[in-house]
Structures are given as structure tokens and as C-alpha cells.
Symmetry: C2
Subunit: 408 residues, 2 copies
């Protein structure tokens, strides 16, 4: 399969016109810009020879005709506010280009290429709504409960868009041999290490804990140090301890972030009565996540009660890691070797629709470099050369897989 690079890049540029803002896109789920992009996409899929529809949750799903077996390739076309032009969009258009080339060139007669753009991956209403629906993990109650930050319900948005009432497309493990998702890395590793393709071995698990120190507000001039219950000072010491504990207990792939901190009442002349920090940590291995959570609990136990300050910890979020299919990762790697493209095995530090799909069909992802590691920002970009290289590796991977499965 010889992809048409010019067409791929043109399609990317065309899609980026929907909601274009500066060098990025503002294409929040189910806005007029997002809906127009979906309409454009379903037409592109039909032109490419696919049976394509927008389903009841807004997924744009195109199926290859006349095959019993297919790979599924996709990602999402919605964006965060003032997001980048490639995040999600590129993975969908990789699928479109591979499917179109297959259909035009009459290659791989035994293996179809189905293409999908999952709705609301970014969670304007409900993160991963499209892939969860596609895999049967999104109930009617889930849909009813989902709201955006302005309180508009997902049901209302689906009705407005004309998607409500359409059947919801479902994955078919008897048809779908594999799910592939191409994506920008959204981090700096490939660029820094001079690699061209990231072979995603796992999508990291994410946990989030909130630590709250409660002391007593006092006049910061008239209250002697030894009579204070300074929630802020205890939190600072606890956070410094946590940074040390995480550095010791984490794996070489662990990341953690103390991203939000708040002191109340928050005045220079009042001893903080409350101090709170949000701790997020990620790792591809559940046992490492357990170890880091245990470090939080141990540090909290150590500091609880110091200086009359009580400490509570709430474990708010736990998303399990998702291993990618080892055989598929090997196949992508084989494709990179075939072309002598420098590639790196690495976890994905961000969540993706592939996380959901991996529970139902063999799933793999490939990353291409993000310039300066930037994403979720209009500054997000990747060179045309790298974009096309990623598409070629994906096409080669599909061809290799067809050969492996006797479907070429």
C-alpha cells in the first residue's frame, strides 16, 4: 500500500478549518464546529468507499464492504478548548487514508479497514463517551447524567445535533482483528531522544488523591509559633516528604504531579486553617501505583496530628493501566525495522480511546513526535514528514498483520 501523502496532509488541513483558532482548533464536542467536522468526515468516508454513518452517540463509523474481517483504525475529532490540530484528528485521518488506499488499490482483499472517530474523547460531557458506547460500557443512565460545565446535558446536545435516536454502533470482536490508534505523543520524549515512532506498550493507570490539612486560623502576628495549628506549614512539610518518597518508590516510568494547592483563608497575616493539595500519579504497572498510594498513606500517617493539625486523604480517582497487545506491538516494531525507522517502546502517559478498546480486541497505538512536547494548546504541531512517516508505518503494520493472519 502506497499512501497518498499529499491527500493525507490536505485532509488534515481541511479538517483543521472546522473551529480553526490561530494555529489550532476549538472543536468542543457537539458544537456546530464539531458537528460540521463529523458531517465532513462521514462524506469523506463514503467517498473512500466505506459504509459510513454517524451513530446515536456521535461516533462517525465507516465499514469496509464485502469483508468478514477488518482492522479498526481511529481516534477522535473533538478537541479541548483552543486545542491542537492533530490531537485525535490525525489518528482518524490515518484510518481514512489507509482505508481509501486499500479500496483504491484493491489490496488486502481479505482484510477490511474500518475507520472510526469516537465522540467526546476529551470529555466536554463525558470523557471517552464514544469508545465506551462502542464497547457497550456507556449506559442510558450514564448518558442521562452527563453534563458539560455549563450544565447542558449530553442528551440535549445529542438531540440538538440530530444524533439522538440513531442506533449506537458496537464493536464486533468476531470482525475486528485489531484496533490501531495513531496519535501525537503529547510529550517531549521522542523529540529529545531522536526517535520517530513511539511503540506504546501500555497506557498508564492514573490515580488522584486529595490531602487536606486542618488546623486553626490565628492572627499571624499575635500568636506565638508554638501555639499555632498551622495547616499550611504541615502541608508544606508533608508535600516535601511526598516528593522524596515518590522519587524513591516510583518506577523509572512513574510520573507524579502536585498540580493544585490551596491555603485558606489565604491571607499573609492569618495562619492557614486549611491547606489542601491534589496529588496525581501515573504508572503502567498497578503494583507501582499501589506502592505510590501506600507512600501517600504512610506520609499522611506520619504527619497527622503534628502541631495539632489533622490530616485526611481522599483517593478520588483510580484508572487502571491498560496493556497494549504484545503481538501487535511487535508487528508495529517490525514495520519500523523494515524501514529502518528509529522507534522507542514507551508507555502512554495520557489516556486514549485505545484504553477502552483494549478490553475487547487486541489493541495497539503508535506515537509520532510532538514538537517541543506541546499539546492541548494551539502551539501543538508535528512536521509533515513525521506525520506521513507515522501513516506509512501504520499502513505497513496492517499489511504485515494481514500477511501474519493469512489474509493478504
Amino acid at each position: 500500500m502506497q499512501l497518498n501523502h499529499t491527500r493525507l496532509l490536505n485532509n488534515l488541513t481541511q479538517l483543521a478549518q472546522f473551529g480553526k483558532v490561530e494555529t489550532g482548533v476549538n472543536r468542543l464536542s457537539f458544537t456546530s464546529e464539531d458537528r460540521a467536522a463529523r458531517q465532513w468526515l462521514v462524506e469523506q468516508m463514503r467517498e473512500a468507499g466505506l459504509d459510513a454513518e454517524i451513530d446515536g452517540i456521535g461516533n462517525v463509523y465507516g465499514r469496509t464492504r464485502g469483508v468478514d474481517t477488518a482492522v479498526l483504525i481511529g481516534s477522535h475529532t473533538d478537541s479541548v478548548p483552543k486545542g491542537g490540530w492533530l490531537d485525535g484528528a490525525m489518528g482518524v485521518l490515518y484510518g481514512l487514508e489507509v482505508a481509501r488506499t486499500r479500496n483504491e488499490s484493491n489490496t488486502l482483499p481479505g482484510l477490511g479497514v474500518d475507520v472510526i472517530s469516537f465522540a467526546d474523547e476529551e470529555g466536554t460531557y463525558r470523557a471517552l463517551a464514544g469508545s465506551l458506547s462502542f464497547c457497550g460500557e456507556l449506559s442510558d443512565v450514564d448518558i442521562k447524567d452527563a453534563k458539560n460545565m455549563h450544565g447542558v446535558s449530553l442528551t440535549h446536545a445529542l438531540t440538538e445535533a440530530g444524533y439522538a435516536g440513531q442506533p449506537r454502533a458496537r464493536i464486533d470482536p468476531s470482525r475486528h482483528l485489531a484496533y490501531f490508534e495513531g496519535h501525537i505523543e503529547q510529550g517531549p520524549r521522542l523529540e529529545v531522544e531522536g526517535q520517530k515512532i513511539g511503540l506504546v506498550t501500555a497506557i498508564v493507570g492514573i490515580r488522584r488523591s486529595r490531602i487536606t490539612c486542618t488546623g486553626q486560623a490565628d492572627h499571624a502576628g499575635t500568636t506565638p509559633m508554638h501555639l499555632r495549628k498551622d495547616a499550611g506549614a504541615v502541608l508544606i512539610r508533608l508535600c516535601a516528604e511526598l516528593l522524596n518518597r515518590f522519587a524513591n518508590a516510583g518506577s523509572e516510568l512513574s510520573v507524579w504531579n502536585l498540580g493544585h494547592i490551596v491555603f485558606e483563608p489565604g491571607a499573609g497575616n492569618v495562619v492557614p486553617s486549611l491547606a489542601q493539595v491534589l496529588v496525581e500519579f501515573r504508572d503502567p504497572r498497578p503494583e507501582v501505583l499501589d506502592r505510590l498510594e501506600a507512600e501517600i498513606n504512610a506520609a499522611v500517617a506520619e504527619f497527622h496530628g503534628q502541631q495539632g493539625v489533622s490530616i485526611e486523604v481522599a483517593h478520588l480517582l483510580s484508572i487502571a493501566p491498560a496493556d497494549m497487545d504484545a503481538a501487535l506491538v511487535d508487528t508495529i516494531e517490525a514495520a519500523t525495522r523494515q524501514q529502518a525507522v528509529p522507534a522507542l517502546r514507551m508507555p502512554s502517559g495520557a489516556g486514549h480511546d485505545a484504553m477502552v478498546l483494549s478490553r475487547y480486541v487486541p489493541t495497539a497505538m503508535l506515537f509520532i513526535p510532538s514538537i517541543g512536547g506541546r499539546s492541548h494548546d494551539v502551539a501543538e504541531d508535528t512536521s509533515a514528514e513525521d506525520i506521513c512517516l507515522g501513516a506509512d508505518i501504520l499502513a505497513d503494520t496492517v499489511a504485515l498483520l494481514a500477511r501474519q493472519k493469512g489474509l493478504a
Copy 2:
């Protein structure tokens, strides 16, 4: 001089009706409640036999007739929002009760008792405006520039109140032998240590610095730890270091507070690009304040550039400590010994009008206990017994001073 305790307590209760809120008062400067309280006070002063006026900045000033020499006793009657009933008000009514008793009992013929309530000590428009004006430190430009948090100018407030255009009263060092201010402690020391009178040796100096760490916002999942410029992590370590350095470098009277901290953008999944802390520290000795400021500078120098994070420090505020007059402190102490009242030499950790007055006339303050150390809150309170004891010690001090100066 035998004070009338019942009258003193009644006057306190009457004054607390102006702007009464729950068990405290809402008597922000130049509100109708504050103005009504000033009008009540000027009438009380006249009833007590003083020549009393409200001056051009709102100071209520009552002078003893027929004397060339007087002590000045006072404080302020404005409050913070939902403040306590004693903060300031008590010191003014101590002066009123001592002056009234002197005038009624025809004691101390050679030493008058002038009484003053300084305007806007709490800084609704301009902190210490009344005492600064009284001492000639508040210029017309200062008045013109002063605004409250809603943007209303002090000039407008003074005009509305009918004070604008009145002459501004001025301190007279040839008349004023001393300035005395009685005040609640606003802290827990007297209560905790079982003392009844705080002999204020100095009003602490206050300095305030803002430390700003600047790094880079990155995705907290996809950016490996070693490639981050985490302003938050650096600030946490710097703050922990500062807490240690202050504990080592401070005097036994030093206090410090890290009361406000902010991380930007402040999301659990974004590495903080900016982290800022407000550091406030107080001590009665300038050389200790210099030492603590040097510790900040040294810690900033140590952490600057770590993990690619740059650090800036801005020294925002520096109020010099004010020593109280040693001879006057001795005189108050002598009064407490005379009555066998347990008293403690201590600095004032909060600012007071006495800070300004001390630059022009011998000045001293006495504290009485605050229940639970509470102030700037409706919960602020002191037992009637302790209030009356403080007034008695002040009256005795005036009598002792008169004797010392041959004016009794």
C-alpha cells in the same frame, strides 16, 4: 482615682450597639454606624467635661480644660468587617473613664487627661489614617489617593460624613507628657500563661516578601520527570527549607507565616508553570528582621535555577519596629506590682496607633487577655473583671506618672 466599673462596662455595651452584628460589630470607617458611634463618643466626652470635636480626618478628640500638661489616652472605634466589640473601642473608653473620673473627683489638678479615637486604624481606606494625621504624617496627597476596596475615595467619605473641611487636630509634644493605649492582646499568651496585664515593650516590625517560581506548564502524564520545569515542586522544597531556616535564625519573639500560596495553572494534570508564596515575618528587633530577610534571599539563591525553574523575590512591605518608652513601661509595671497583678513583658505582634505616636511622645501600651486569643471576629471577648482590671491599672499608672513628674 476610683473608676466607675459599672459605667465603663455600660459605655462599652452602648458603643457596641453601633453596627452590632451577633456578638461583635460591623463598624467600618465612615459608614453610618461608625459615624453615629463618633457622634455618641463626642457627646460622651463633652459630658465628661472635655472640649471635644470631630476633626477633619474623623478623629474624635477631647481635651481637658485648664491644664498645660496632659496624658493622651486612646485607640480607635472603627472595626474590621464583622469584628470584635473591644478591639480599639476599649482603649478609647478607658481614656473616657479615666478623664471623667479625674474631672468628677478633682484629682490630679496639674495633669489633664486628653482622650482620642483615631479614625480608620483598621485601614478601610488607609490604615492608621487618624494617628498619622494627628502626628502630621498624612499629607493631602495621601488623603486624595486613599480608596476603599470598592473604589470609593477617602475624600468622598469625609465629605459625606461632614468631616471634610474641619481643622485636623495635631499632637502637642509640649502638652502631651505621654500616650497610653489599652488594648486587647489579640493573641493567646496572657491567657495561656495565666497573666492579667501585658506590658508591651515594643510593637514588632513587619516585613512581607513574595517569592515567585517560574517553570513551564507541561502535561503531567506525558512529560517524564527529568524533562519538567516544575515550579510547584521547587516552591514546596524552598518553603520547607524556609521553615527550617526561620526556626533557626529567628529570635524567641519572632513569628512568621506562609499564609498564601498559589499554583498556576492549578490543574491536577498540568505541571505548575508558576508557584508563588507570600512570606510574612515579624520581630521587635530590626536586626532580627534583617537576618530573616537574609535567610529568604539565601534560600532563593540556593534554589534558583534548580530543575530549570527561575525564582524571584520581591520584598513588598517593611514596617519598622517601634519601641515603647522604657520609663512608661516601668511605670505600668509598678502599677501592676502595687496591686499584685500578674503581668508579662511582651511585644505586640499586631500594629497599633501607638506605633505612630511613639515617634513623637513617650508612648506605652497595656494588653488585657483575649479569651481563646480570638480577635478580628465576632467571637472576640474578654471577661468584665479583666476589662476593669486593665482600666484600674491604667488609672493607677497615670496617677503614678503624675507623682513622678510632680504634677499630682
